[in-house]
């Protein structure tokens, strides 16, 4: 899947050790992972399994202690400086003194994109996340789900070929969450970006992903990688959540998480 389509993220033997006052803590050990261009990969696991750390390494917000990590063939640092990814966190992290539109324009503004182009791109993104009517609102006037949508629009502003998302729907209620997931699937299908998505929700990982990477804690390792065979982007909708295939995948991920036999689960085919 990687050779002809191109590789977005490649990690080989990546490890991360944090030095704390009480000694060294191994957050990640021996991570091998490849995310193909345009592929949606979720990282799932209990808290402390290093899934957010792995995402931060890819984003070059932290640097690995060992191993090799490349993003689109260059170092993580070069890809950050070259603005090859967009990122969204659990907290929307909007700037409260900027309007919704100005928040979305922030990445473009920081990189010297002209005013008219910024405005045009912001209009597109506002339409994409369904917030056109709220362009002039300030973040505190929006609900949590709407704020998160602004953050996602912002992460898409520069048409990145890689999206990094750290539990972006973690703080939302279940109904908003499902709607956002459906929207994200649609957005990703439209933009063709690869996505690395951190979550601790099994149904969320299954619904969104092409592949689910199951991680185990202390030290953080990859314990299983599952191919999810749900229909592609456009065809995936609310009815997918009630599919037998969906439930079979949920069960497979759950068993992998709860330490079922790794060998049996690798490459589960549910069709």
């Amino acid at each position: 899947m990687n050779a002809q389509a191109g590789v977005a993220v490649q990690a080989v033997g990546v490890g991360k050790v944090f030095t704390t006052r009480s000694g060294a803590v191994t957050a990640l050990e021996d991570i091998d992972l490849t995310v193909a261009a345009g592929e949606f990969v979720s990282l799932i696991g209990p808290s402390g399994c290093g899934k957010s750390t792995l995402l931060r390494l890819v984003a070059d917000l932290d640097s690995p202690s060992s191993g090799e990590l490349t993003v689109f063939g260059t170092s993580a640092r070069a890809s950050r400086e070259g603005q090859q990814y967009g990122i969204a966190f659990q907290q929307a992290g909007l700037l409260p003194w900027r309007t919704v539109r100005a928040n979305i324009e922030l990445p473009l503004e920081l990189h010297g994109v002209g005013k008219r182009q910024r405005r045009a791109r912001a209009e597109e993104l506002l339409a994409l996340v369904g917030l056109t009517d709220f362009a002039a609102s300030f973040p505190h006037q929006l609900s949590g789900g709407m704020q998160q949508r602004v953050a996602i629009a912002r992460s898409l502003a520069e048409q990145p070929s890689l999206l990094l998302m750290d539990e972006p729907f973690g703080a939302l209620d279940e109904m908003t969450r499902e709607r956002m997931q459906t929207e994200l699937v649609r957005i990703c299908a439209e933009s063709g970006a690869a996505v690395l998505f951190v979550t601790h929700s099994i149904p969320e990982a299954v619904f969104l992903s092409d592949r689910v990477v199951v991680m185990s804690p202390r030290p953080g390792r990859i314990s299983a990688v599952l191919d999810i065979g749900l229909p592609d982007g456009q065809a995936r909708g609310e009815s997918t959540r009630e599919d037998a295939a969906f439930f079979a995948n949920v069960t497979a991920v759950r068993e992998a998480l709860h330490g079922g036999s790794v060998a049996d689960l690798r490459g589960v085919d549910v069709r």
Binding site: A59, R80, Y85, F89, G93, L95, P96, W97, L110
Partner: protein
């Protein structure tokens, strides 16, 4: 802070109202003490528990107000006491604002340096605190002495500059502390976002940290203005500078026995001056309203 929460009434109306109420409460308390406590104060076994409240030591509020309208001195052609106080207050206010400006620049500069380099924070923070434990009166003659030696071409160090410098010494402190807290206030997600966008330190300062600091900075600037006035008054007294309200407080104190309302009028004027300075600076906050959304929290 819940009292200051924005409600149905505009914030400034509410705050002005609260200020006036506080003033009224003080006047009532003052008169109440005069009414209840005997003229000679309360003395138990030779120990004075409550001060004397005779018209000599605590004049009625209205006699202080009435004194304002009468001439400052018995000399013919003397201006009214109010006139003298306004002139002196204006003199002190200008020096205070000059000192405030210097203090704000120094405080902001320190905060930026301390935020940017952790080691600078560790190195400077103790000195910033220590600076405020040195009595102003001890510094005043030194500053005047050093200033007197400065001659740069046509520029000569003036006495008022020493006073302003001493005022800035008090004003920089709240600004430095408030600005540092404000600059450090952006959330981890916001800081990570700017890093992910490969924004330089300077960009991050202007686009993220400075705007985020505004809710902390506005109260600090107001507090700095009030302390600048106090600093200027103390500095006027300890450097023997003529023309300001500090000088008047000292000289009026000498007429306390014969004319008790006069020194109280000067003290009241100094308090009003502090409020005016803080109020003027508060106007700065109006222009920055957009950045103060987070102030509710």
């Amino acid at each position: 802070m819940s009292l200051l929460r924005a409600g149905a009434v505009p914030g400034w109306v509410r705050r002005t109202g609260e200020g006036l109420l506080a003033l009224l409460a003080f006047v009532v308390l003052w008169e109440l003490v005069k009414l209840v406590v005997p003229d000679g104060g309360v003395v138990v076994g030779g120990v004075s528990l409550l001060p004397r409240t005779s018209d000599q030591t605590m004049p009625h509020v209205w006699s202080v107000l009435a004194r304002l309208g009468r001439p400052e001195t018995s000399a013919t052609g003397s201006v009214s006491l109010a006139g003298a106080l306004v002139t002196a207050s204006w003199f002190t206010l200008r020096i205070s604002l000059a000192g405030w400006l210097v203090g704000v620049l120094a405080g902001l500069g320190l905060a930026v340096v301390m935020q940017r380099w952790r080691i600078a924070e560790d190195a400077l923070a103790p000195w910033v605190v220590l600076s405020q434990t040195v009595p102003l009166i001890a510094l005043a003659p030194l500053v005047v002495g050093w200033g007197g030696k400065i001659h740069l071409g046509a520029f000569a160090w003036d006495r008022w500059m020493s006073v302003a410098l001493i005022a800035s010494y008090l004003a920089f402190f709240p600004v430095a502390v408030g600005a540092l807290r404000g600059l450090q206030s952006p959330t981890a997600a916001q800081v990570d976002l700017f890093r992910s966008l490969a924004a330089s330190g300077t960009r991050t300062l202007w686009r993220l940290r400075m705007p985020a600091a505004v809710p902390y900075l506005v109260p600090a600037l107001r507090l700095g203005a009030a302390t600048a006035v106090v600093g200027a008054i103390v500095a006027e007294v300890s450097t023997g500078t003529q023309g300001g309200i500090g000088r008047l407080i000292i000289s009026y104190a000498q007429s306390a026995t014969g004319d008790p309302a006069k020194p109280w009028a000067a003290i009241a004027a100094a308090a009003v001056l502090g409020l005016v300075a803080a109020g003027v600076v508060g106007l700065v906050g109006l222009g920055l309203r957009r950045f103060r959304v987070g102030e509710v929290a």
